[in-house]
């Protein structure tokens, strides 16, 4: 682990507190472990927000989260004393009941901790280069995900344009899937709709989604046989250095060729102004 003039002893100068619903291997690697009751993340974080503002919360209410008042007070004290705190959070927080609000609770808490010391928060992104997708969509469309381009410009509304919702409602009539296997992970009604409409899959393997698709194209695995860039979860881009030469084309090449094949067809959006002053 990195050493520096502020933390000359590396890991020894750092304190790791793990908060989870069960004691995992990661918990054993941490200095402290807090077991929170499942589904109580939002309440715990909201209590902590209140406590750093010296608001009174009853011990019983705190205990209902699975963490005692004493432990929580001690944690907050330690956090306030830290020189530089980081809150990492994962899908256990953002994909359980409360979803984006659980993440919002943590981000708000991190922001408010700056009244005492320096704190930042960072999502532990899974799925390889999902951060890259996020970053690129933001600079090219203004929005990170959940985008519709059907009016010729980007619009954003998670819940309306996010994939699971779109599939469950049956609001798409053709799906192009790349670098993901929703056929293995999404709820059944979503998968059923993928099977119903023409689905196109680009993947290095024939996946669950490939099996229910009309078109599967095998591509070279990114970073192993296809070069390019991948973003780290803190939004630092890294060069990819493939070790193998794939017999398959890269995703980049295949998507470009599909895009070019579409561009050869007549445009259906005609008589559009160059710009509109107010959006829908």
């Amino acid at each position: 682990m990195q050493k520096s003039k502020f933390l000359p002893r590396g890991r020894k100068d750092r304190t790791v507190v793990m908060v989870d619903i069960r004691e995992t291997k990661s918990a054993k690697a941490a200095d402290h472990f807090l077991q929170v009751r499942p589904g109580k993340d939002f309440e715990l974080l909201t209590i902590m927000r209140a406590m750093i503002k010296d608001q009174e919360i009853s011990e019983a209410e705190v205990a209902a989260t699975g963490v005692s008042m004493e432990v929580l007070r001690d944690l907050i004290d330690q956090m306030k004393k830290a020189k530089f705190g980081v809150m990492f959070f994962g899908m256990g927080l953002s994909m359980t009941r409360g979803k984006h609000m659980n993440a919002a609770a943590l981000l708000t808490f991190a922001a408010e901790m700056n009244a005492f010391t320096k704190f930042v928060a960072m999502p532990m992104r899974g799925h390889g280069n999902v951060t890259g997708a996020d970053v690129i969509m933001r600079w090219q469309t203004g929005y990170p995900f959940g985008i519709s381009l059907n009016r010729g410009y980007p619009r954003y509304n998670p819940g309306e344009f996010s994939t699971v919702d779109v599939l469950v409602r049956g609001d798409t009539d053709c799906a192009f899937i790349i670098g993901a296997d929703p056929g293995a992970t999404m709820p059944k009604p979503a998968i059923d709709h993928l099977a119903k409409v023409p689905t196109i899959v680009l993947d290095p393997h024939v996946t669950h989604t490939s099996r229910l698709s009309r078109v599967h194209i095998t591509t070279a695995p990114a970073g192993i046989a296809a070069p390019g860039t991948g973003y780290r979860m803190d939004e630092v881009p890294m060069p990819l250095k493939p070790a193998l030469n794939s017999p398959y084309p890269s995703d980049e090449e295949v998507v470009r060729r599909i895009k070019e094949a579409i561009a050869e067809k007549p445009d259906w959006m005609t008589n559009q102004p160059q710009m509109i002053e107010s959006q829908v």
Partner: protein, 277 residues
């Protein structure tokens, strides 16, 4: 002025964006102009009469028939007249509405009356998520007007609302009044968890017991006078609030202390059930 009637003839396969269907627009349009106005079926621009049979012209009274659950943005930003739908309607019903009336004999999808500032929406069936809410990133949701949902509602009812009233007849899901800044939400059949989370101001009145956030402080049973004022205001819309001190009172919760906020949640409590608390 005769009403304009639109009957859905061709069901959309994907979402049909029809923000043109508002009293404001149609009030000035001839029959042909209405028929040829543009709707968006997914990425394609089509004439409205590819989906609807249109009867009438130049009226700000609109009557819609059919299964409109994929038809979005009905009554968007309307400022006058009325829109009545017989059948389910899609997302964004009456979003940004300023005045006029919307009535739906059926269910509505998400974002009913989102960021509206005036007028009245009455959904006789159920509503989806984010009734009267703010869109993502906006600082304020509903800023005025009245929304009545007879049936149930999804999560985040009245999220970041600033003024106005929302009445939910059936049970509401999580996060009612999330980050609320003002206005009133009446829950006639209670809600699931986290009602009032992070609220700054405003009032949530529940006629059923609520699973409270830990960051609200409870004070005693009260019968505030404004309840009867509210009740008489809502009575013409078919909603009455109990305010008989002999029958019971309202448990008052103040919060959310995480903010810290000055919102209040009033939970009706009949005297007979009092021992439970």
């Amino acid at each position: 002025m005769n009403a304009i009637t639109l009957r859905l003839r061709q069901e959309p396969v994907v979402a049909l964006e029809a923000e043109v269907i508002t009293p404001d627009r149609f009030a000035e349009m001839s029959h042909e102009e209405i028929c040829s106005s543009i709707v968006y079926h997914g990425k394609r621009q089509l004439r409205l009469d590819e989906f609807f049979d249109v009867d009438g012209e130049r009226s700000d009274q609109l009557i819609l028939h059919g299964d409109l659950h994929r038809v979005r943005h009905l009554g968007r930003a309307m400022t006058r007249g009325s829109l009545t739908a017989h059948g389910d309607v899609g997302m964004h019903l009456g979003a940004h509405m300023k005045a006029g009336q919307i009535e739906v004999f059926g269910n509505a999808s998400d974002w009913v009356g989102a960021e509206m500032s005036g007028g009245k929406i009455h959904v006789h069936g159920h509503a989806g998520q984010q009734v009267g809410a703010a869109y993502r990133g906006s600082l304020a949701g509903m800023k005025g007007g009245l929304i009545i949902i007879d049936g149930s509602a999804g999560i985040e009812v009245g999220m970041r609302m600033r003024r106005g009233t929302i009445v939910i007849g059936g049970p509401a899901k999580d996060f009612v009044g999330l980050q609320m800044k003002g206005g009133t939400i009446v829950l006639r059949d209670g809600a699931e968890i986290r009602a009032g989370a992070w609220m700054q101001r405003g009032t949530i009145i529940s006629l059923k017991p609520l699973d409270m956030m830990p960051t609200f402080a409870r004070s005693g049973l009260q019968n505030p006078t404004f309840i009867s004022v509210y009740s008489s205001l809502l009575k013409p819309h078919g909603c009455e609030l109990p305010n008989d001190a002999a029958a019971g009172g309202y448990l008052r919760y103040a919060g959310d202390r995480a903010v810290p906020g000055k919102g209040e949640i009033l939970v009706w409590q009949e005297h007979s059930a009092n021992e439970a608390y």
